[in-house]
Symmetry: C2
Subunit: 403 residues, 2 copies
DNA sequence: CGTGGTTTATAAAAAATTTAATAAACTTGC
DNA sequence: GCAAGTTTATTAAATTTTTTATAAACCACG
């Protein structure tokens, strides 16, 4: 832990060795496979004897473990090493409108602890904040001896967030200090904050379908619409961390008033909210659907419409196609601007990926230039609904250059 | 030169020292002010005696020069050092539709040589390519002894370019090899290729108004419309280097057919071309203007309209306002997506910056969210019309991590 | 099944770097 | 104007790192 917790900025021998060890740990943790000492030494420009010395010290500290001997084509087989998966842990907290979850991961990002509350309702009140603090605090208690080996805690919260200052604008904005400062003082851990969409994008970038992609767009299509932009392998946060407000881009033909105060926001036409609204309007106008009469119209949520579409409900499918086409057109514009290698569609809408795929692609051809479009893959996230915690925790590893 | 030309990948002493020297040179060249040995050593985690040794070797190689003693508040004044400005040179070539220019810069980016041909007309023919090759070749001859000290040549060419592979798609696309390969074989120099807009963006990023900005948009508004996106301090090239096709984003209300084969491209409404078209249409419909009857209508170029606007021609001003407003609306969308800290307007339209500023800002408020808009500055490039060479040459320095 | 070729690992010798000590240059305060 | 404090520069001693040499592990080929 000392290796990450303390800052070594001197020019003395100890600082240099700390820096080398940190680079070594970074290299080992970023590598998919265990590494041999000669390979490590080539990368770090170190002689084999010193490399061996440093690795042995890292083993003595419990940071690195020996894995075994590697199969090679010729020559003596090297002993290979990896980061001790139980050396340290990261915490990922997801605070959504109707759910809070706390996940704890080991160095291999295996979830070693999870606790969630699906009854939770996010409100911008001190009571809600102290519930959140208590909830996280309980989880920390349950961690027992692991508690002392936590590198940091990453949070993903709905709403607008300045991930650079650690401020949350929509929720818990009544504090004197920033939300990050508040949580730091409560838990005495390094805290990293971002919005739910960026956190989902991080998960996709580091563990999901954008793992090998240096330029990607990750769309979060659930009740709202957001985007994470990956350029040069890094998440684009922008000047204040507000980047990715895809749902508030003005592409639309509609003139519905958005909560942001503008008309024509894409999110008013492409989102779970829009799906609900459109569905209700069509049904009121006498359109038939498989969904009803099971539930009352006002109780229908976009999740239900997505399920109905999967079951073949014509109205739901038609509405989804419409949304997919509009989304595709908007994405085509972003393709022209950023030339991504792949676009990953995530969020609750992925359950209807079969229905969306064609309409999104069709929309993209309407606006994207053929050259950048040709090499841009449209993929659907396989991360699942509860991957937010992983992305939230990834912020911690990212900060320590371990990912 | 050896320091940059050769690759040192070993773990031996010589490679390590080469790597350290390269880092030292990078640090010195990136610094605005000359640096003292203790400051260098702190950054490179080196003891003062070794730092001194390396600096002395760099001086012996002619790479570094002593500047003098620095004023400090207390203590002995340190001797400060900088890169020898005449140690090496970079070449920047700009190949536009109606101009070719070759500039040579020293390490301080002072132009030590320039040659241009304003009669040049870019055509996708072998003849035009050999003219270009000859033109550059002549410039190299005229460099005399400096010729042996050229780090590399960067080119900015109109049209679509894959800067990663070095291919040019619109011009000189008849070659078996890539344009970069072709030029490399002709000049035996490291060659770096990108389009004119990215090259202009590079100039703005490293020497212009985006110098201290990690997240910026640089708009190239001339006869066409392009953009360079800067995120996390780096130029966003995208998967194939096509990023920045702002002019082909579909925001427009117009349905004019663009050369790309689509309708509604922003460049059909916001560009020098659009300005010309709109002007002609209005004049045909009997609108009055100060510009005519000096020239015939079909000879009017957008440059003339911009000048007329500066002189107070009501029609030209009105048309510019319209373009500015539309541009602002489109930029507002990109603000929502990327949250830039500043937007720099460059290209030929900057002569009318006074007229554009308000209308662009007004357009931006129509689409941009208030939070990201508030901290986004709208600036106008001061780089001037012939700064493309500087940006082209910057590619070389960027490649060697000297900028 | 042994010899030659290849890669890894370890131990002693050689080289390079850091540390510590000292001198030099400069400011401030009395 | 001199002593105390601060920072840079240089030199010699101590430490660390690399180099070299040697052994170990493994494959392929005859």
């Amino acid at each position: 832990m000392e290796l990450f917790r303390t800052q070594h900025n001197g020019t003395d021998m100890e600082s240099k060795q700390f820096a080398q060890k940190r680079k070594m740990v970074a290299f080992l943790n970023k590598s998919e496979d265990p590494l041999a000492i000669p390979a490590i030494c080539r990368r770090l420009r170190l002689s084999v004897p010193t490399g061996t010395k440093l690795v042995n010290e890292l083993i003595a500290d419990g940071i690195v473990v020996e894995v075994g001997k590697m199969e090679t084509d010729n020559g003596r087989r090297p002993v290979v090493y990896k980061i001790n998966p139980e050396y340290a842990y990261t915490i990922g907290v997801e605070i959504l409108l109707k759910r809070i979850s706390v996940s704890v991961f080991n160095m291999e990002m295996v979830e070693v602890f999870q606790k969630k509350d699906n009854e939770f309702v996010l409100e911008n009140t001190p009571e809600c904040l102290s519930f959140v603090v208590d909830f996280i605090g309980q989880c920390l208690e349950e961690l027992d001896e692991k508690k002392t080996r936590v590198l940091g805690m990453g949070l993903g919260i709905t709403g607008r967030v300045n991930s650079k200052t650690g401020e949350s604008y929509n929720y818990f904005n009544f504090l004197e200090e920033t939300l990050t400062e508040h949580l730091s003082s409560k838990f005495e851990l390094p805290i990293f904050l971002d919005n739910d969409t960026h956190v989902m994008g991080m998960a996709e970038r580091f563990f999901g379908k954008a793992r090998k992609e240096k330029n990607a767009l990750i769309v979060n299509l659930s009740r709202g619409l957001g985007m994470t932009v990956i350029s040069n392998g890094k998440v684009v946060l922008g000047n204040q961390g507000f980047a990715g407000e895809f749902g508030h881009m003005q592409f639309g033909e509609s003139s519905k008033l958005c909560i942001c105060g503008k008309r024509g926001c894409l999110g008013m036409e492409v989102s779970g909210y829009a799906l609900e609204e459109n569905f209700k309007e069509y049904v009121k106008n006498g359109e038939k659907t498989l969904l009803l009469p099971e539930g009352e119209l006002r109780k229908v949520r976009y999740d239900n419409i997505l399920q109905a579409a999967r079951k073949g409900d014509a109205l739901s499918i038609a509405l989804l196609h419409d949304i997919g086409f509009k989304l595709g057109k908007a994405l085509g514009n972003v393709i022209n601007l950023l030339n991504p290698g792949s676009i990953i569609l995530g969020g609750k809408f992925v359950v209807a990926s079969d229905i969306l795929a064609d309409s999104v692609k069709s929309g993209m051809t309407h606006t994207a230039l053929s050259q950048p479009l040709r090499t841009c893959d449209l993929l659907f996230s396989e991360a699942g609904d509860e991957s937010g915690g992983k992305g939230a925790a990834a912020q911690v590893l990212y900060h320590y250059d371990l990912i």
